[in-house]
Assembly symmetry: C2
Homo-oligomer: 377 residues x 2
């Protein structure tokens, strides 16, 4: 359990297999985001139909509503959302540190106000582990201390030190919870350090010293920094990471970003873009994003993406999809979300196939050139 095998590499890019309590994940793999215990507008049958292997759920959201005790009473997160495949939960930290309202951080943890009922709550490294254990995800993320990516070096370094101290506490609490059920859930640490190569190197050292781990996440990227900075950071971190650990790049991505990150040795990804952008009428296609609301699609009988095998592309015309959006119909939101998720799982499958057959380095620039219309991602 919690094993990861690298099957093939092309440069830093890897194809692997990750074994989790609720199934096997073939990487690279994209995880859609089920914020409140549902990938917005999609059912678990839709997820299976789009070849999703693993789903992310948000600990903060499920903690404040309906509460982890309700999820647990209803059989845990998998039974709750009727998704029997692997689930990763974040620690709740990202949402809390992003909250508009009151929050206060000290060495003990972070105090925050629920966005649902305004109640004052406290999240500590130990509580983050307990909540995720009650939710019953396959992979629980450690609680990290987040600071803005634009923070000065001293702030970033101090946050890193605190994150390491919190990681010790997460590790201890998770080990205690897992003592009698070691195959129920694993815990992964998160690497921070902004785009500072030295801080990132320190982060890797500190985290690995606290191991062993069954996987590791790269946090603090895809939060608004320039793409070259993200790429440079990944290139600084990647060689320091053990080959045998799956690497989860948090918050990525858009199709072009996912492929760049695969080329830099990342294995797992999550992002709200396919569903959020889908709900706004933006569809990913091999020739780049398309806004289906555009009048040019009014009487277009062609599918969104003739090369796609999803229900949306096999069944409906662009003209019909545009009509659904313009008319404000709910079906529109589901159909574009479905297609965009499938676009990213298919892109992951394609990348994997090209790594396995050794053609990844030739295929990637051609894919990107077509997708971006020639501009560099």
């Amino acid at each position: 359990m919690f094993e990861f095998t690298v099957e093939a590499t092309v440069g830093a890019a890897r194809a692997g297999v990750l074994t989790l309590p609720h199934g096997v994940v073939q990487t690279p793999a994209f995880m859609p985001v089920g914020t409140q215990g549902t990938v917005r507008a999609l059912s678990p049958f839709d997820l299976r139909a789009t070849a999703v292997q693993m789903v992310l759920a948000n600990t903060y959201h499920l903690h404040v509503r309906p509460g982890e005790e309700v999820v647990q009473a209803l059989g845990g997160l998998h039974r709750f959302m009727a998704w029997d495949g692997p689930v990763l939960t974040d620690s709740g930290g990202f949402q809390i540190f992003s909250l508009e309202g009151m929050r206060r951080v000290d060495e003990e943890g972070v105090e925050f106000q629920s966005h649902v009922d305004g109640s004052r709550r406290r999240l500590t490294p130990e509580r983050a582990m307990e909540i995720q254990w009650a939710l019953g995800s396959d992979v629980a993320m450690a609680l990290d201390h987040l600071v803005p990516g634009v923070a000065d070096r001293a702030t970033l370094a101090a946050a890193l030190e605190r994150t390491s101290r919190w990681l010790v506490r997460c590790r201890a609490r998770h080990a205690a919870l897992a003592a009698d059920a070691p195959e129920f859930q694993t815990c992964w640490p998160i690497l921070q350090g902004g785009t500072d190569p030295q801080l990132r190197a320190d982060a890797v050292t500190q985290v690995l010293d606290l191991g062993p781990w069954s996987g590791v996440a790269v946090g603090g990227l895809a939060v608004g920094e320039a793409r070259p900075a993200m790429h440079a950071t990944l290139e600084a971190v990647e060689p320091r990471l053990p080959r045998g650990l799956p690497r989860y790049l948090m918050g990525v991505g858009f199709p072009e970003d996912l492929l760049e990150a695969v080329a830099r040795g990342m294995d797992l990804f999550d992002c709200v873009a396919p569903t959020r952008n889908g709900r706004n009428g933006q569809a990913f296609t091999p020739d780049g994003p398309v806004n289906i609301r555009n009048a040019v699609h009014r009487a277009d009988a062609e599918p969104l993406d003739p090369s796609c095998d999803c229900e949306t592309c096999r069944t409906y015309s662009r003209g019909y999809l545009r009509h659904l959006f313009v008319a404000g119909e709910l079906l529109a939101l589901r159909l574009l979300s479905l297609h965009n998720v499938r676009f990213l799982t298919r892109l992951s499958e394609d990348a994997r196939a090209r790594i396995l057959d050794g053609t990844f380095d030739r295929w990637r620039p051609a894919w990107t050139a077509r997708y971006t219309g020639g501009s560099t991602p």
Copy 2:
């Protein structure tokens, strides 16, 4: 084509088979409403999965957006909405006569303002036929002159006379359109007359004199009148209708109303209640409607309706469904719509089975007593 066979009767209740260009409909049958070319929140695959046989679409809505010429360019309504089963379109009259803004009626037709762009448009009996022909539905409804059910007798009688004159024009235009494609679409008249037995009798006479028809609709009911008045009206109309014509009761219904209408010889039904109420969190169950938002369902692991075979009831707990509603998740809208539509198709199937095996009269009061908790529908 357009044949209807009565297979069995119990009192006035009938089980029949209606043959239409896009398939066979076993009656009694409930048609969900696809106002804008989609049954809200449901896909055509969902409709098949809930054993929907026939769908209603709204001519007014499709005329103003995207326009029947767009639907036609995209292959007609069936191809447009990817529903290959039978479709009935209303005439557009009901929506226009219900419009808040400007409308003006004269002998020629009705002038109205589009709710989408405010443009001034005109619907005549001939145009109603032409639009529905372009849409390509299996059954087109004649344009009738609607007046409020509370109108005085003279107004009702004048509207009835005009409806008959319009029916002559609808019949002529439809016959011309269908001259070269007689199996493409049929046209059904609508019986009006409020709850006045004599006017209803006159309506039947006038309509049948203009026949032959392949079906007939009963309009102007389920618009706010008391239930006994609706029942009395159906009982006054039914014996005057030829046995061999399918009878479509417009706008019904809620489960208890549908069953009462089946008992009074009606064969086809449409209503937005299952989808609209579903989107508001109301679910039909054999023990009556349930509001899934209610706190009592918070940690309830039971399905909505243990006797139901729909995806919602086979897959999710009441606790999860409540969470989806309380959290404002889109999946909630689909799952309750799906269940409510299945509830009505299953009720229709059950009624049909009980008519075929002769037990309808024994089964119906028991079903109703359980559903209404003992009160009379």
